[in-house]
Assembly symmetry: C2
Homo-oligomer: 524 residues x 2
């Protein structure tokens, strides 16, 4: 720090917050500010070190913070304007919360004296924040802001990662009593359930036992340990239906997912009588369906919860490895490099999967919001070059493009490949502009099936047979067709529309070759 930085009593609350966040290791801010946040914006000029990324819609900012956490393994902050600005960011906060991502939301609020006047933008910010936040606090004075900020970071860093929302009344931002606070250490990961180890070791024995992993159990190292356990015990290995971040590709241990469709999930789990959970929850259905089960495991399956999402998952897997004598065993399920034939013909889930297997570059980050189109991608790409795979754990669409912004912000040296259904992409397409502004190395593939395809299946699943034209119309994105190339160009990003699998592969390779964002509209 320079002399100027340490002068007491001459710093406003906003500046004390920026400095505190930096001191606590938060150096990236995804912003959509308004009047009540102007002092924070101004502080960005006084304080070096905070990278600010502008989003043109708050759902982009919160989704980007989610993607950032997954790749940087530390929180970013968002800067949001009052209750409605926070409200616009809630859906992607929901996804982040379900993924175990840590985020510090800074939400401007009217000056305390102004709230009672019920101005147009006045709303119950704490009430809006509560459903999607683990921690909510409103600063009471400029002198408190620094300490509150440090505690917000602490809350966000509590394993596996939490949503912290700090509400900053504008007078606490502009008053000159700011004090920079020292970082408040977050707790480490909690111990796994030591008492369950023996039972878990005994349970993992043969093909009717399953080791089910989630969250931070899906790092490359932890998967290697899991692969050794599978080799030593003959147990099955699966991950949850959706994973915040999965390390995969050639040379890594391949792990399948519990399928999304209920019937397939029940079939996949039917054979397992004993299930050990490490960072995962017991499998349940995404939705309830008339006459179908919600609990997906077989009746009376024994379920042993060894470690939850915030627990010491590496320790839990190491204990299992020790107990099963797996330490010195070579892991099973190691993915071999693949030599997938060049696909031809129409763009289908299968040909896309083949293209991906051939074109995912080493060390890429794949953001997958491909919904129905993508259900076959994982097995087909098991032997692609090593990469990270990010899924939506909260089910609220509009996840992928913002998460790609955040991943690219965290990892500017890695290629990002975003695989997004057209209906999902439309929710938060403003993210494309931020990619252009930041010149992020993101190749987007938009799957233009021109429908909420998942819902066509769901109509049948919930028992609606032969839906009529008015129902089908509510699930169709044609009339008019969406033109993704035109929309992307309007946000400063070039791209191309492709009609067959060979052209898709060429386009993806061209996009990856570009040093900046590129959009491919894949006609299905």
């Amino acid at each position: 720090m320079t002399d100027q930085d340490t002068r007491a009593g001459t710093m406003n609350g906003a500046e004390s917050l920026v400095r505190t966040l930096l001191a606590s290791g938060v150096d990236t801010c995804f912003s959509n500010p308004g009047t009540s946040e102007m002092h924070f914006v101004a502080a960005l000029d006084h304080v070096p070190g905070m990278r600010s990324v502008l989003a043109l819609f708050e759902g982009v900012a919160t989704g980007a913070a989610d993607g950032y956490f997954r790749m940087a393994r530390k929180p970013a902050c968002t800067l949001l304007h009052l209750g409605p600005g926070l409200a616009n960011g809630l859906a992607n906060l929901h996804n982040a919360k379900k993924a175990g991502s840590g985020i510090v939301n800074i939400v401007g609020e009217h000056a305390a004296s102004h709230i009672e006047l019920d101005a147009p933008l006045t709303a119950d910010i704490a009430g809006i924040a509560a459903p999607m936040s683990h921690w909510v606090h409103t600063s009471e004075s400029a002198a408190d802001v620094g300490g509150d900020g440090a505690r917000a970071v602490q809350a966000a860093m509590t394993p596996p990662g939490r949503i912290a929302t700090l509400i900053l009344p504008s007078d606490t931002a502009w008053n000159e009593d700011g004090v920079v606070a020292a970082p408040v250490p977050a707790p480490g990961r909690a111990p796994f359930d030591q008492k369950a180890v023996g039972k878990a070791v005994a349970a993992l024995d043969g093909a009717d036992s399953l080791l089910l992993l989630g969250g931070a159990a899906l790092t490359e190292e932890n998967l290697q340990t899991a692969g050794r356990i599978a080799a030593a015990t003959g147990c099955g290995l699966l991950s949850e239906w959706s994973n915040a971040r999965l390390e995969r590709g050639a040379g890594r241990v391949f792990i399948g997912k519990v399928p999304y469709p209920i019937d397939q999930a029940v079939a996949a789990l039917e054979g397992f009588r004993r299930i050990v959970l490490v960072g995962a929850r017991a499998p349940i259905g995404f939705f309830a369906y008339p006459g179908k089960p919600a609990v997906l495991t077989r009746d009376r399956a024994e379920i042993i919860a060894l470690a939850g999402a915030g627990d010491d998952l590496t320790g839990a897997l190491d204990a299992l490895a020790d107990g099963t004598g797996a330490r010195s065993v070579a892991p099973s399920g190691l993915a071999a490099p693949q030599d997938t034939a060049r696909p031809n013909g129409a763009i289908t889930p299968e040909t896309i999967a083949a293209v991906l297997a051939r074109s995912i570059p080493e060390n890429a980050i794949v953001v997958d919001e491909s919904v129905t189109t993508g259900r076959t991608f994982l097995p087909a790409t098991a032997g692609a070059a090593p990469h990270s795979w990010l899924n939506n754990c909260g089910g609220s669409i509009g996840f992928g493009l913002p998460v790609a912004v955040g991943a690219a912000t965290a990892c500017p040296d890695r290629k990002v490949l975003a695989l997004i259904g057209d209906g999902s992409a439309m929710y938060t397409l403003q993210a494309i502009w931020t990619m252009a502004r930041e010149q992020q190395d993101v190749t987007m593939v938009i799957f233009a099936n021109r429908s909420y395809a998942i819902l066509r299946g769901e109509l049948t699943n919930v028992g609606v047979q032969n839906p009529g034209p008015r129902a089908v119309d509510m699930l169709s994105l044609n009339r008019p067709d969406l033109g993704w190339i035109e929309m992307a160009r309007g946000m400063g990003v070039e791209g191309q529309r492709v009609e067959d699998a060979a052209a898709l592969e060429e386009a993806i390779l061209a996009g990856l070759d570009v040093d900046g964002p590129y959009l491919i509209e894949a006609m299905m």
Copy 2:
């Protein structure tokens, strides 16, 4: 009804809800459904009469319901997918709530048995709804859904209009015990404060007294009465800074607004010692600013609240007219038809205002989210052809395009002219697609100043002098420039970019001439 319609016990909850809504007069639904709403979607095929309009983002659906209420003077419903779907619609529900618009939100929820499993999309829906709803209820069984729906409509129709949110667990939608409920009458407008009439009549006397109107006091008829009162008493006449719907144009009584900028508002109100409120609230600042007042009226101004937004405003104005002997007086402030000269040169707030004065067609609906650009529009267009003018009362941007969708849905025979700042339009640009799908007669003018211009002023207002480049960068929408013509084309809407005032006028006339949506990007 046909025989088929009255069969007892053979209708699921979703169908009973659609039939109840129709029976209660709600025949329009702005939808973005998901799995949990599939039975409602399916019921659309079985039950004739419900118009469903698909939105590709929930903020479009809720904003459209707001615009619909303002023009139809009755509620539409929205169909939203679980907590995150509702969350995406909250910001425009906030605006609707502040405008006194009635809306019935139907929000799908997991089946009751599924909620405890904490599935990915599970969230506290009632908690998410509460900050932006006057009424929230979760249906407990299929047999209850009809009655709950009727009460939701009653709540939404309670004057001036309220936000009602009905949460519909999917089992209550699919179970077969649905019962169609009879409409539940909403209360009428409450009586105005009879005891305040004498004081209000005495107060309105000369140029230091003000009649301040809001809400339903701004109908053509009520404004005529207000004009008579002004003529009889010499009082001033103003509306709130923003109005849900204002009837104006040649032959109608012109009414100015309390200005948005604090200093101008204080100056405009400085001369008034006595203020009578009819449908309006006492003027306060939009934001608090360091060293500036939040209450905009002069110290010790006498403020007489004769009638609130939900009260009998016509009765209140009639009582004032009787008391001031204004009944037989010709109204003052009648706007004469205008002969505005054709503007030339650059597109500026002043030349745009002149273009509007010349081009607003008779009976048009003007949706105004022009923010900084539009501050001079009202006086300049006082003598344009008669039209309705809709403003954002809640201050959350992303209001205008969705409200235009709703207004066009309610009034298919009227031209809609949407005047939107580029930053605001970007929030909910998905509305353009719905306009194309529904072939709505909306001419959009996007003011491309390529910045959050209002915030540049606000930086100074909150006391930040000479903001540095990093602060200014957070308020700039260039890098890259937004291409509105390209984005609109990608959503099936044609348009043109104009660079000067004469071209703007030609483009607006061309857009109005088109029988469908048209977008004009006005370069500033």
